[in-house]
Amino acid sequence: MSDIAVKTSDHVVARDRLSEDWLSVAIGVLVFALALFSLSGTDLLGWAITTSVYINLTQALAPLAKGYAWLGGGASLLATYAALLVMLSIGVAALGADVRKFALAFTVVFAIAYASWVAGSYAYIAAVTPAEQQKFGIAWSLKLTNEGGFVVALLSGLVIANFFPRFANWLKEAIRPELYIKIAIVILGATVAVTAVGRLNLASSILIRGAAAIVEAYLIYWAVVYYVARKWFGFSREWSVPLASGISICGVAAAIATGGAIRARPAVPILVSSLVVVFAVVEVLILPFLAQTFLWQEPLVAGAWIGLAVKTDGAAVAGGGITEALIMAKAAAEGIKYQPGWILATTATVKVFIDIFIGVWAFILGYIWTNHIDKGPDKARPSEIWERFPKFILGFIVVFAISLWLALGTTPDIAKALPAAAGEANVFRVIFFILTFFSIGVLSDFRKLWQQGFAKLAAVYFVSLFGFVIWVGLLISWLFFSGVKPPLVS
């Protein structure tokens, strides 16, 4: 029962979880702070790489800012890689990881992940509107937008995980989806704030409706999945708690937190976590396309649904990104141009709200278990709520609050320059999304599903997820968000 997924999940989420949380805050806030220098006219991040939809590969890459155009695409890509390598190497060194192994593995991870992103920007894959197709001189395209590169990165990772397991194992030091997505979420705080400033009423309404996600995940999903695991499938309490938490709340983090709270052996939530990652991949490959087909006229329902249905922060928020790209593409083809950012912001809001209460729920379960079920000297402590609190959310809130203050509480000049600064930070958010998608793919060993015994865990997951979780999530998203559209581009 040992494989790449389990091993990497182990080092990613168990031993380093707390440290990775704080590291993600540090890196995310650093990127945001560097981007803010542009408010004073000093562009510190304009050299970062961006990719445009292309038909001729030589025109795909370019630095973000015109002031750095002299660098060219190649040097910009190298500079971005070098900056990320240095920043992350220092970070993982602080976590006690082998920096040399990380640097080597990260080089390959970055190369494959970014190559996937570039491949996804090929006009035959990414071009959306007839005007774009005409511009590139092509008769057809998959219309995935350039964010279809996320799917290409995910598929690249899946191929490596399932056909080249030794190579996947060699990469594992740099396969850190939790770290990458948490950094991305911290940076996302700036984009969400800039998006919200334009329509504060809508933004605050979405925020309030995030409360429904908490009720749904913790009180309804969890209870039903726990019952299904215990009663229908005969799992023990030790297995059922992490399983219910993984399926209902927030995948890996919740399985680890609640498993620890009920004093389960570490291997139990780790095994559950690897299953969570596999199913999250399946969801990310299916749900955004279903949302595009059936919910394109209800974009915020789609955004909330992805946040409620897809487990693990990485897959959910990244899935929200794909969903936004696909729905905006479909709407654009129909002549409707939505402002970007609202669908992703809805997904992120729902996910962040759910994450906040992981510690509280773990404490409640821990209290019940240590006082009523497995009575012993090791009682649950209130301090565990803070210990299990996902700290990266603090980084998201700080970046969001500072951005909101800069937009509303300072001079008009600063407010006007803020979207460009947030845009610079957003380039790195996208890169961390790409790294997340690729890493999730590399962790997803589908052979695990065919292993005897593990199939039963997967059966609980399958029955709960596809028989209950995604449909109830859709119903509740519909109840709270139907009829609400993102603002149109003026």
Binding site: M1, S205, L219, A223, K231, G234, F480
Partner: protein
């Protein structure tokens, strides 16, 4: 944890639902459904401001 241990532990658990577990499930679902109903009603009277 070996394959056989995993199968044995996860697949053949003979742990009946305790009253405290039934309470946890029942109260969670009860509070959840009532809370959702309240939120739906609030949502109806305080629609999203576009």
């Amino acid at each position: 944890m070996s394959q056989s241990e995993f199968e044995c532990e996860s697949g053949n658990a003979a742990e009946p639902l305790l009253p405290i577990e039934k309470k946890l499930i029942g109260w969670s679902l009860g509070i959840g459904v009532v809370s959702l109903a309240i939120l739906v009603i609030l949502n109806h009277f305080l629609p999203i401001a576009v």
